[in-house]
Symmetry: C2
């Protein structure tokens, strides 16, 4: 059903037109590419690997906003690309496979149990191993198989890009963008790893993690990839950056607020997981920087504790409120949203790009899941 519906969508998307692209249509087209890619992999795989592919397919199917592929298609339109050609959708979908790899490994590193309201990949693999009564340590198997499945997904994100049907010029323009994106997100991930475990008041450090782990990776580079495929000049690239960094930062700041105050039923992640992991967010850094000595003692005693209770989580939330950190982050989000919209007003993009990008800026700042 999903594939058939998206097939119809793609037909309309591939019609060359300057009409404003519908974001839902782009998401459907990306999902079709991913479903077909994995179905082909499954057909050619030997049986033992098929269950691993099924796990991956299941994880991709249950959710995700497809924000990076959508940004990539917007970048294509921003640089004057017409319609939504199949090869651009495929290149865009390769970003979603890359992101899937990043999530699988991230969940292993944090030992997160839940993502998108379902068990994380390593937990599913552990569960399958145990329920089939296989020999060996099931937890260890789940982690190892998830590391391996992440590696495979990273390799497949390349393969999907290589086989997108790009011209040599497009491939030559795309590869350095993808390489830069990978370097940046892994740097951000490492910074995050270095900071995790103890709350600290270094707001600049937390903003640097935010910028590399999210803003550049989620918004800037996907826009650059799409615009590179359309053969853009540097004025387009710069305008993409001017929009992308504030939107991407706002997106992550909203994520931090949702992690602390959001509804688990909407976010798909357990409440207070960020507190338990001791995640180094701008929100937490602001609270630490503004805390009174007794508030600081409370944060140091509770943040990073894997056995944090619901009441203790409420006590952390009260400090985030009382220090003004929550309000300050709301202000940062609003300022960044305004800055991104102003950048769009100045950008040399056609309407086919500015309309959805404006919509995405609002959604990134105001989302609830």
């Amino acid at each position: 059903m999903r594939a058939a519906a998206a097939d119809a969508e793609r037909q309309s998307l591939t019609t060359p037109t300057d009409a404003v692209p519908d974001l839902t249509e782009i998401r459907l087209a990306v999902d079709t590419v991913l479903a077909e890619f994995l179905a082909a992999k499954r057909r050619s795989a030997r049986p033992p690997l098929q269950e691993l592919i099924d796990t991956l397919d299941g994880f991709i199917s249950i959710g995700g906003k497809r924000i990076r592929p959508v940004m990539c298609v917007c970048g294509w339109r921003a640089a004057g690309g017409e319609g939504t050609p199949e090869q651009v959708v495929r290149a865009a979908a390769s970003l979603e496979l890359f992101h899937t790899f990043a999530l699988i490994h991230d969940d292993v590193m944090d030992d997160s149990g839940t993502r998108r309201g379902h068990p994380t990949v390593h937990r599913s693999l552990t569960h399958r191993h145990r329920s089939q009564g296989r020999p060996g340590n099931a937890d260890r198997f789940g982690v190892n198989a998830a590391v391996l499945l992440g590696d495979l997904t990273l390799a497949w994100s390349d393969e999907l890009l290589h086989t997108s049907g790009l011209t040599f010029g497009q491939l030559r323009a795309a590869l350095p963008v993808v390489d830069a994106m990978r370097n940046e997100v892994m740097y951000g991930q490492y910074l995050d790893l270095l900071g995790t475990g103890r709350p600290a008041g270094d707001v600049a450090h937390a903003l640097e993690v935010n910028r590399f782990k999210t803003a550049k990776y989620t918004v800037e580079r996907p826009l650059h990839l799409g615009s590179a495929l359309a053969g853009c000049d540097s004025s387009v690239t710069d305008a993409c950056t001017a929009y992308a960094l504030p939107v991407g930062e706002a997106f992550q700041l909203r994520d931090d607020l949702l992690g602390a105050f959001g509804d688990p039923a909407a976010t798909g992640k357990p409440a207070a997981d960020d507190f338990r992991e001791g995640k180094y967010t701008v929100l937490m850094a602001l609270a630490v920087a503004q805390a009174t000595p007794s508030q600081l003692r409370l944060l140091h005693a509770l943040v990073g504790r894997s056995d944090l209770t619901g009441e203790e989580a409420d006590a952390v939330r009260a400090v985030l409120e009382a220090t003004g950190a929550r309000l300050a982050v709301e202000g940062m989000i609003a300022r960044r949203c305004r800055r991104a919209l102003a950048a769009l007003d100045r950008a040399p993009f056609p309407e086919a790009a500015t309309v959805p990008l404006r919509q995405l800026a609002h959604a990134a700042s105001a989302r609830t899941s």
Copy 2:
């Protein structure tokens, strides 16, 4: 020093000639490419990432046979490629970066402490974290940072290939080979993971792991990559396969024997680690298949035990001897070596390829480290 010496070597290697390439010269040229690539990465990296790059550089520098890059250059020569051009050396070196990624993750999965006679990457990172008195769990940091460094190394193996200076035709021929190689080695790795933990007598399964995890990955695909860069036809590809699979299988069978009976001072790995991990080798599968009931009880009781003593390891070795498994594996190696040499006699390769490939077949079968 290393860079300067290899610079001189590279000069001579890039002279177009059909002379038989010296394997040591190829290794030096590959090492220079790797050292220069990492030095450039280090220069452009922000400080926190530099220590991660230093760890990677240290791990690559302490050893390794560079067998995959050497095979790649031999493949280039086999298909009539002349000399050893810089872009071929760079593409060959990208295989070594890929292999480095695979080793880093493999050691995390097996929780191995020693590789090439030194601490494994995750153990080094744990040690550094602890010795600098950083907050948080040092073991967990080491594992997470190693997973991330492996991911980065995989991404960089791509980047090195992309920036090798290949023509579009070469890149278009190379990418499917690299994609196939990754799919195959990860399939072999997953098979290995499924089989680990308990000795079983399924020799066919163990041979399948051997073929995918080693033979295709270490010999066949590197040869295919080099010959694809020279624009080979299918007769060359097929001749590469006819040589590669027996040599690669012999290489892994020798590795299995070294893991069981080798001198730790020469192999760089602790004695009996394969027994402790419960590694699913052809050697072990043959022993299980031929064991008497009491020998089988002994193998089931000891293989896969992380606390195996030296005496218990000797008892396992005695079963590998008494069942005839050790002798049978020696016979398999000898037959595969003969088959590979016979394939070379029939191959349409110039001397510049057959001479080093003959040498490599002998070395793979007879090596002690």
